[in-house]
Subunit: 259 residues, 2 copies
C-alpha cells in the first residue's frame, strides 16, 4: 500500500512570511502523495476589521454569520489558498487549491441550531470526504491544497475547522493509502511546560493524555487538537505527529500512539 | 470528435442575483463537456472601496498594484468562484473552481513595463493553457469553473482579462474537441443600435466587422470583445456566439463567421 502524508498548517505559519517561506521549501521536499490542509490565520480578522464586519463570538467560539462567511471565503479560499498554490507551483509542486465544494471534495452538514446558532458552520461525518476524487488527483501527481471551507451540496458554503478537515481526510484515505497525519503549528509538539520548548513530550498515548489532562499539563487549545488526533488514531490512521513547521522533514515532534 | 462548450459570463450576470440564478439553471442544462469562465463584476470595486484601496486607472484601464491583486484574488478566486461552484454542485453539476495557478491551468507572463506599468497584469500566449489537465478534468465529468486570475509559474499570481482567458482556452482545446465559444453578457448580441435589443445583428463576418467599426456602429467595449472573438475564429474555433445569458440554450444571439 502506498503511503500518503496529510499535512495541516495553522494560521501562525501562514501569517509570518518567513515561516511560510521555510514551510513551502520543506513541504515540496516531502516525497510521494501528499495533501496540504490550511487554516486561516489573522488575515480573516484583519480583513473583517478593514471592512467593518464585527466578529461575533459565543464563549470564545466564532459564529459564522453571512458577512463573516463571505470574508472567510475570500481570505481562506481566495487570498491564502491561491497564494499558497502559486508558491508551490513556483517550487515545482503541482498544487491544486480546493474548498469542499470543488469537485464535491468535502460535503458537510450545517451545524444544527440548539442553544447556539453557529450560523454557516459545517460539521463533518464519515461520508463527508470524497476519497475517490482525492485519489484521482493524487494518481495524477497533483497535490490537493485544501482550505477550511466546505459546502452542503445544496448551494451553501460552510466554515469548517481545518484540524477537523485534516483528521477526516486522513481517516477517509486510510483504506487506499498508508496514511500519516501531521499537524504543524508554532510549538515543537506537546510540551510539559508551554513556555519551554525543551520540555517536549516525544511520545504520548491515550492513557498519558488522560493523565496529562487531569494534571492540567495539557489544556486549552491543545485539547481539541489532541481529541481530533486521537480520533484519527482510533480510526486506524497509521501515524500521527504534532510538530513545528520547521521540523516537517525531521523526527522532532510529539508522536501519538493508541496505547 | 467530441464537442466542448466554453462559456464566458460577465460581471453583470454575477452582480444580479436573479440573472445569476437563471444563468445557473441554464448552464447545468448544457449537455456534454463544458468550461465556465467568469469575470469579476462590481464586487471587486465595492470590496476595494470598503477596504479603503483606491482604484488605480490609466486611460480607463485598471492598474493592478499589490493591494488590488489581493482584492481581485479574494473576490474572483474566493467569493465569486466558490459561490458559483457551490451553486452548480447544488444543481448536480460537478464543478471545480480554478485559477490559472491551480494545476498550472493557465501560465501567463507579467505584462512588460513600457510607457505604463500595469502592475500584476498577466498576458497569455499560445503555450499558456494546460490543455491536457483540462482534458483530464473533462474526461472525469468535471466542469472547470475558471476565474480571471493566472500565475507566472514562479510564485506570482496575475490579473488577466476573462474574455482573453475564454478565447485562449477555446483555441487551445480545439485540437481535442470541436469547440464552441459563447460570450454571455447583458445584451442580446451585437446591436445596430445599442439601446434597441430588437436591432440584433444575427450574423457578422470579418468584413462586416470592419465596416461596422468604420461606421462607428460597433465601438467602445464591443471592440476588444470582438477582436478576441475573431482571433478565436482565425485560430479555427468551430463556432463563436455573443448572446444574453438568458438565451444560453436557444439560438438568439450574434454568430460570428470568418468571412
Amino acid at each position: 500500500m502506498k503511503s500518503l502524508q496529510v499535512i495541516k498548517i495553522g494560521g501562525n505559519v501562514i501569517d509570518d512570511p518567513q515561516s511560510l517561506n521555510s514551510f513551502v521549501k520543506n513541504f515540496v521536499q516531502v516525497k510521494g502523495p501528499k495533501i496540504l490542509v490550511h487554516g486561516g490565520g489573522k488575515k480573516a480578522s484583519s480583513t473583517a476589521e478593514a471592512m467593518g464586519v464585527e466578529p461575533k463570538m459565543w464563549h470564545g467560539r466564532r459564529i459564522t454569520d453571512g458577512p463573516t462567511l463571505d470574508i472567510v471565503t475570500m481570505v481562506y479560499a481566495g487570498l491564502i489558498n491561491k497564494n499558497l498554490v502559486a508558491r508551490l507551483q513556483g517550487d515545482r509542486c503541482n498544487a491544486l487549491g480546493l474548498t469542499g465544494a470543488d469537485g464535491n471534495t468535502i460535503q458537510a452538514v450545517k451545524r444544527p441550531v440548539k442553544q447556539v446558532d453557529y450560523g454557516f458552520a459545517g460539521d463533518l461525518n464519515e461520508q463527508s470526504v470524497n476519497r475517490n476524487f482525492l485519489a484521482t488527483l493524487l494518481q495524477n501527481d497533483i497535490c490537493p491544497v485544501i482550505c477550511a471551507i466546505t459546502h452542503d451540496k445544496n448551494g451553501q458554503l460552510l466554515n469548517t475547522n481545518a484540524d477537523t478537515i485534516a483528521t477526516n481526510i486522513a481517516i477517509a484515505m486510510q483504506n487506499l493509502y498508508q496514511t500519516s497525519l501531521i499537524f504543524c503549528f508554532e510549538k515543537h509538539g506537546v510540551l510539559l511546560d508551554p513556555d519551554d520548548e525543551k520540555s517536549l513530550i516525544p511520545e504520548i498515548n491515550w492513557e498519558d493524555y488522560q493523565q496529562y489532562k487531569s494534571d492540567q499539563i495539557i489544556k486549552d487549545g491543545m485539547i481539541p487538537k489532541l481529541d481530533n488526533a486521537f480520533e484519527a488514531i482510533r480510526a486506524g490512521v497509521a501515524s500521527i505527529t504534532i510538530k513545528h513547521a520547521t521540523n516537517l522533514n525531521n523526527e522532532r515532534g510529539t508522536v501519538l500512539y493508541p496505547s
